[in-house]
Amino acid sequence: MALRDQQTTDFVGRMMAVQPRLRAYARIMIYNPSDVNDLLQEVATIGWQKYEQYDASRSFDAWIMGIARNCVFEYMRDQGKRACPLTSEAIELLESEAVDTSTSASDIEQALDICLRKLSAKDHRLVRTRFEQSETNRGVSKLLGLSEATVSRTLNRIYAQLLLCIKQQERGMGAKL
């Protein structure tokens, strides 16, 4: 395999493996979910351009996370409050902990797979509608014939259920699935 092809394969493989972590980190920091996709692609582009500088003896995840952090900082500088409506103090605290928390993104994703299956059919439908058919509560309310407030409340209840379930999964508490 040509050297650069090998590099491409390596890079893409590594990027795929670190995607959940990058996405989690970016979503923690960025208010608008569609900007997260833009930012992740920016990270991939810069990462690829600089890949030849990457020292393979060091952690790729840490290296690409450094790029991601720089991208986030730059994005926040450009976008100001639009990037994240929280105060700078809160953002600073969150950022320092987001890097660590994002390392468990893959584990949380796996637990979430299990926990989603434990939802009632009705709740599962709402989650699917919200995240797969409509990106807004308003869209969901139209599709399911519910008020926006009901969608929001129900979604929050489901989140609480999922977060608790994920915690239990992480503690190794088995259930039906």
Binding site: M1, A2, R4, D5, T9, V12, M15, M16, P20, R23, A24, A26, R27, I28, Y31, P33, S34, V36, N37, D38, L40, Q41, T45, W48, Q49, P85, L86, T87, A90, L93, L94, E97, A98, S102, A105, I108, E109, Q110, L112, D113, I114, R117, K118, A121, R130, F131, E132, E135, T136, N137, S152, L155, N156, Y159, A160, L163, I166, K167, A175, K176
Partner: protein, 592 residues
């Protein structure tokens, strides 16, 4: 005390508003305050957003799958995206790439081929603000598709601008691994080893072991394959695969996919333009089922190939592990998942459909309770059950189930179809909270007594049974005619049951035979010539006997745990059916 107990309604609401992009300035200020002052609030927020990120990424996977379903391949879509973008820093595609691009554009009557794309476009085809909606849909598989493009087109190895007349890349010393298929969708999938990515390439001779869920692949010749876990395969070429274990469905509707070949340990199955299923059991038995069109099956032994047989629509062939037998059979589409849509894959729905197709007399799914505490019989208006005391409905991964903690469910009316029946069967899922002495399902004589005689009873044995030590931690299936409080014929599962684990149980009375299946396997069997008694009885779930007042007493053996999908048949259930019932639920990993 756990962090979860500190989750305040306010924090949840504020995080929800942020997720929904509905956060007001005042809310943002309050949320910032909580996050600044309280570390546990930050931890909650971080996990909340990680879950949000994961859920949102799933939406993009779905969008990518839908996009994937278009006539153009991933590569075609990506090329279109790349070519629609205009950016600085052009690079020149090599002639091969341009040719691919040109042929695709010709096919789609698009604009004339451009040989120039930008570095950014070449890799990701994206600017921060351009074509956001379309690119958001493509984002999930974009990264994987990049690799496909590069490998398929032998792309230039530089990101920096290249002159058109640069010498060609030196030929690689070793051939690059060949991409022969793409993972185009997966549902609840877990893989052994490195998990392939949706939209990502699958290489020649890359072993794939799907341990949970479903996955859909598209081979280069456009044949599509749905895998059902547990399943182990190897893509061998652009039009060939090998399956050593598990189930798959081949969908070969494209003209180019005709001739798609599946090798099993003992047979070769060649498509002749059709949809078919292949199953390789752990014992090595091979089954080929044709749902549409036709396939050719050739038995393979160490000595060579046997005579090819044609299997037409609705037909099947079973090949024994030693290839000594190649038997015709009817195709059984219900044993294979033929689509990735919700109705195709939802194990709870599939299980329910299977049960209903088997025509039980009663079937209680416990999905909901009536206002009067009634439990619907899915098979019709008769024999509705009622909840007593502390039985309730609880959500599980298979929809809802009945939660027992001292209460019970009862069918007051005698199930007449079972009265005097030579054959009957009871199937259900059970998940005991603990090792306990408890009754799961009972047909109890309808008499006013402190201890009603039972006609049939399925029980769990406690950890140490002082009276009958052999029953400790054992599941027992007892048939009694005449009805009695003891005696009769009992089958006991030789292995101890486990607390907090789901177990699929089927008790069968088939004429003179009694059989007990646990998790799809025959657990015990014995002879008993007596039919079901013809006296009136009540069917109870989660308890044995109750006082004349309906209250539990010292003989009740109330069950603590979950019971679900209780179906009672006025006929026997075969071993294959018991196995199928279990497997239908285990498709997404719901086995105990």
């Amino acid at each position: 005390m756990s962090q979860d107990k500190h989750i305040s309604a306010e924090l949840l609401r504020l995080c929800g508003s942020l997720r929904d992009q509905q956060l007001t300035e005042a809310e943002a200020e309050r949320l910032s305050q909580l996050l600044t002052e309280r570390p546990e609030a930050r931890r909650f927020y971080l996990r909340f957003m990680v879950v949000t990120a994961s859920l949102e990424s799933r939406s993009h996977d779905e969008a990518a799958q839908e996009q994937d379903a278009n006539d153009e391949s991933n590569v075609g879509l990506l090329l279109q995206l790349l070519e629609q973008e205009q950016k600085a820093r052009p690079i020149v595609l090599p002639p091969e790439t341009a040719a691919v691009s040109a042929s695709r554009q010709k096919k789609t009557n698009a604009a004339p081929t451009r040989k120039v794309v930008t570095a950014g476009q070449y890799f990701l085809g994206h600017t921060l603000r351009g074509k956001r909606a379309l690119l958001a849909c493509a984002a999930a598989f974009l990264l994987g598709a990049v690799l496909i493009i590069i490998l398929l087109t032998n792309a230039p190895n530089e990101v920096e601008p290249l002159a058109e007349d640069l010498p060609a890349e030196p030929q690689p010393s070793q051939p690059a691994p060949r991409v022969v298929a793409t993972l185009i969708a997966s549902v609840d999938a877990s893989w052994q080893g490195t998990a392939p990515v949706i939209g990502g390439p699958l290489y020649q001779d890359q072993a794939l072991a799907l341990s949970q869920g479903f996955a859909k692949l598209r081979f280069t010749n456009q044949a599509e394959v749905i895998l059902q876990a547990p399943c182990t395969i190897v893509p061998v070429s652009e039009s060939t695969m090998r399956i050593s274990r598990g189930r798959m469905v081949g969908q070969c509707y494209a003209e180019s996919s005709k001739g798609f070949t599946v090798y099993t340990p003992t047979a070769r199955v060649v498509d002749i333009g059709t949809e078919f299923g292949v199953y390789v059991s752990d014992e090595g038995t091979v089954e080929a089922h044709v749902f549409e069109g036709e396939v050719s099956l050739t038995p393979i032994t160490e000595a060579g190939e046997g005579r090819a047989v044609s299997i037409r629509e609705g037909g099947a062939r079973l090949v024994s592990a030693d290839v000594s037998l190649v038997a015709p059979a009817k195709a059984e589409p219900s044993r294979f998942v033929q689509g990735m849509d919700q109705e195709d894959r939802d194990p709870a729905m599939r299980y329910a459909e299977l049960v209903k197709a088997m025509q039980p007399v009663v079937y209680y799914r416990f999905e909901s309770l009536g206002q009067d505490g009634s439990v619907r019989n899915e098979m019709g208006g008769r024999y509705a059950a009622r909840v007593f005391d502390q039985a309730a409905i609880e959500s599980t991964g298979m929809g809802n189930a009945a939660r027992f903690s001292g209460g019970y469910v009862q069918v007051d009316e005698t199930i007449q179809e079972l009265s005097g029946a030579e054959q009957y069967a009871i199937a259900f899922w059970v998940r005991p909270d603990s090792v306990q002495q408890a009754a799961l399902i009972t047909f109890a004589a309808d008499v006013e007594a402190e201890r009603q005689p039972s006609l049939t009873i399925l029980t769990l044995g406690q950890l140490r049974d002082e009276l009958i030590h052999a029953e400790a931690k054992r599941l027992r299936f007892t048939h009694r005619n005449p009805p009695n409080v003891a005696g009769g014929m009992s089958l006991k599962y030789a292995r101890p049951y486990a607390a907090a684990k789901w177990m699929h149980v089927v008790g069968v009375k088939d004429g003179p035979r009694m059989l007990l299946y646990v998790n799809g396997e025959l657990a015990a069997e014995a002879d008993d010539a007596t039919p079901m008694s013809d006296i009136d009885f009540k069917t109870r779930i989660g308890i044995n006997v109750v006082d004349p007042s309906g209250k539990p007493n010292g003989f009740s053996r109330p069950f603590k745990g979950l019971i679900d999908e209780v179906a009672i048949y006025d006929k026997a259930i075969s071993k294959a059916e018991a196995e199928q019932l279990y497997r239908e639920s285990s498709l997404s990993g719901s086995e105990p």
